[in-house]
Subunit: 476 residues, 2 copies
């Protein structure tokens, strides 16, 4: 049994297929070297501050201390956050808590339940308000910019419930609030300062999708009793491995180079497939990291490129019965990253009490053995069909190992961006949707903005179609 | 407010983009006619028996009756099923139950909690066993073939718990079991017959991913108080619309033709994006339908084709903060299906108590208005970026409307398969993984099978690699 601090294992030996050979990877070494140099420069220039987080004990201590202070008497934590302000925490919580955390009796759970509000979904918000006790609820509102419409709307709804509980007293309600936002800027920070609300900072140099190791992910995890220091230690250990200067000895740059080769060879879809229910949200976190960081219209020199790799999350073994038919027989346009671990619990499969011929092979084994044999079998089958597969072995789902996975994938992402010479840290493509939303919510000034390269139209001239007639031959 | 039986609205008027014009769609009419003829033939030949389900009152009644009989005194339903044996039910349950169904107090819920075991995941299975009361638990085991390894393994584990509760009595435990499987064949059916276990049939002509309207989806939904007859009625109403003989008046065939044109024009990725937490599992259900039905190595004449469209599930508005950057700026290789509805609950956003300049536009609105404006804005923004979007409006999330959505998507899938001249109803690509699993679980005979076109190797000659040395330069 490996120690908790065992390095995770990254195996690319089956990651080749038609058009992408080990030899080509060797040939790409100079490109990898250039990319590593670019990353070094970016780190020094403060553009990759997520790499500073493993050593930022001050930030860690601030989260842990505040969590200790705020959690007493709390039965429910409501977290308002979306995208980069929720996916990292969710990955951590799902990986490391009991799989039915909220359903456990209090005596077994010992830490609060949690409820994430990560959508402007009235039914979900109402349902959460149905089941929490406002006198014992802590609300955590997370928005780096302080301007996320859904997050703030949800926060206002939940806060109103607390204010009502406090008989109309805003200061009373705000004692049950923690805000995580920019240390200086934005409306949420102004609010926090004015009303003396408990708060933690998001370092300005760390973007949302790289923020899991800041208070954004660490504070709510600490509230729930997760060993957050181990997450940082794991990430730090991996960072060392990903700082190696030979690109083909550096696991992140080797992976980035291979993925780049596959993308150029017609495999732009990246399937991320953990074999454990508890790692499903890690795949979801990766989806954002990969899509937002690499999906870009222009490169660093302003050239129109429209690059990107499309992440797909799949869950083993479940999605063997949903997606693997396509993976095995469909177009050869995907790469496959298997994320493997061991179950925390041993569940024996009993000898069958019936149909021994059909079911006998299951009896006497364990569920975890079955799951891991299925993972091996699926990878081997895809290899047989000529599909490129790589594999990350976590050994066990611990905070330390999860921290390693986070940092590895962040460095792979940064590596591909460096190879492509694009900015991994912005997201200009979502701006138009945000402005359209604001304009249609009544903010006139938003309608005047965004006169851009796409035809030079103003936001207010882009009309969402409402209720086009069924007379249109294309409306059924 | 539209009536419950209002037809859902399917809007393809923004579903064009570079290389795919309305004119081309017109030109494809003869191809659409041929495909509709092929579907008619398939229906008559009994290859599309999912179209018979809306009128199969006998099958519906059998589910409803058995549900009524079995649910008395039951607090927890454990469902063992995977892929086509779970995704349809899950879509129905999530769409139509309270969003925190299991967390509600019994007095508010009134029907049992449910727990789905759809993976060979020891931690999840152990967690579910942690929280159920074996004396009041009903176990539903669902496997059409009766040979699903994960499903049977989970069933054996849960059954053992019941047997223990019944002090070793198998007949006692089996009173708390319902099996849903083939009416005649397979080990599960033999077991059911021998031990007189309560059971329901899966019609032999309905494949797993098309089985949501059979007892596979209907029985567990009926146990939880869902209006299952409405699902069938909605599906039946949609089927009529999808039987129209002019392909461009037929919503399913028009959609199939447009998706086929896009696929040929370099857009093989199909993004399915509901705007409601409660429809996330409908997207998951669609993922299987689309991937397994269309991802095929050979066509109906045995020619090697390797076709398929890759489904991606995305959730609005949440994934605007995760995927939309890629959709807007990345490669133009996707089509977008928006699924829209209205919330069941009205949640007002209060006037802000702080930062009125920044947050004032939210106050006085509702969460559902915000969500729908975001959906409109995202679709309009993608259109502005030249991306093809279509839209399904459910109006409200009712059983009738969900039934319409299911049948529409099933007929679109069948339509594309007819256009491509492939078999939508088989899944030969998963066989090798299953055989490898069996062989590595100790079934020697599985190792002798599968000598196929991929190099003519036997299963036992395909060795999953275990613990390759870290000396390999591609292992880190």
């Amino acid at each position: 049994m490996p120690a908790q601090t065992h390095p995770i294992r990254i195996d690319l030996s089956d990651f080749f297929a038609e058009h992408v050979t080990a030899k080509q990877l060797q040939k790409a070494r100079p490109e990898g070297k250039r990319a590593l140099k670019a990353l070094e420069k970016d780190e020094k220039a403060g553009r990759m501050d997520f790499t500073k987080l493993p050593d930022d004990k001050k930030l860690l201590d601030a989260s842990v201390k505040l969590a200790r202070k705020m959690k007493s008497g709390v039965t429910d934590v409501v977290i308002c956050g979306i995208g980069g302000s929720s996916l990292g925490f969710l990955a951590v919580a799902e990986a490391l808590l009991h799989p039915r955390h909220n359903a456990l009796p209090d005596s077994k759970r010992k830490v609060p339940r949690f409820h994430l509000l990560d959508n402007a979904d009235a039914d979900t918000v109402a349902a959460v308000l149905d089941i929490i006790n406002p006198s014992k609820t802590l609300v955590v509102v997370i928005s780096k910019s302080g301007s996320g419409g859904e997050t703030i709307a949800n926060f206002m709804v939940v806060l109103e419930r607390l204010v009502k509980h406090h008989k109309g007293s805003l200061p009373g309600a705000l004692k049950q609030v923690v805000a995580i936002t920019d240390p200086e800027n934005g409306a949420l920070r102004r609010f926090v300062n004015e009303h003396k609300v408990a708060s933690l900072p998001v370092p300005p140099g760390v973007g949302g999708r790289f923020s899991v190791l800041t208070p954004v992910g660490i504070f709510p995890a600490a509230l729930l009793g997760i060993k957050v220091a181990d997450l940082l230690a794991g990430a730090g250990a991996m960072l060392k491995r990903c700082h190696r200067s030979d690109p083909l000895v550096n696991p992140a740059m080797t992976t980035a180079l291979a993925l780049d080769l596959h993308c150029k060879a017609g495999r732009p879809i990246t399937v991320f497939m953990p074999y454990a229910d508890s790692l499903w949200r890690t795949a979801d976190w990766f989806r954002q990291l990969w899509a937002e960081s690499l999906g870009k219209a222009t490169d660093n020199h302003g050239h129109r490129v429209h690059v990107g790799m499309t992440p797909m999350a799949a869950l083993g073994a479940t999605d063997q019965h949903s997606q693997v038919q396509l993976y095995a027989e469909g177009p050869d346009d995907k790469t496959y990253i298997f994320l493997r671990t061991a179950a925390k619990t041993k569940v024996s499969i009993p000898k069958p009490r019936f149909e021994k011929d059909a079911y006998g092979f299951l009896g006497g084994s364990t569920l975890d053995t079955l799951l891991n044999i299925e993972g091996d079998a699926t990878q081997a089958a895809l290899k047989t069909f000529g599909r490129p597969t790589m594999r990350i072995d976590m050994h066990q789902t611990t905070a330390h190992n999860l921290g390693q996975v986070f940092m590895f994938l962040e460095m792979v992402t940064a590596g591909v961006a460096a190879l492509w010479d694009i900015d991994a840290y912005d997201q200009p493509g979502v701006e138009l949707g945000k402005l359209l939303t604001k304009y249609n919510m009544g903010v006139e000034s938003a309608g005047e903005q965004y006169v851009d390269e796409y035809g030079g139209i103003k936001v207010k001239e882009i009309k969402p179609k409402h209720g086009i007639s069924r007379d249109d031959p294309l409306v059924f």
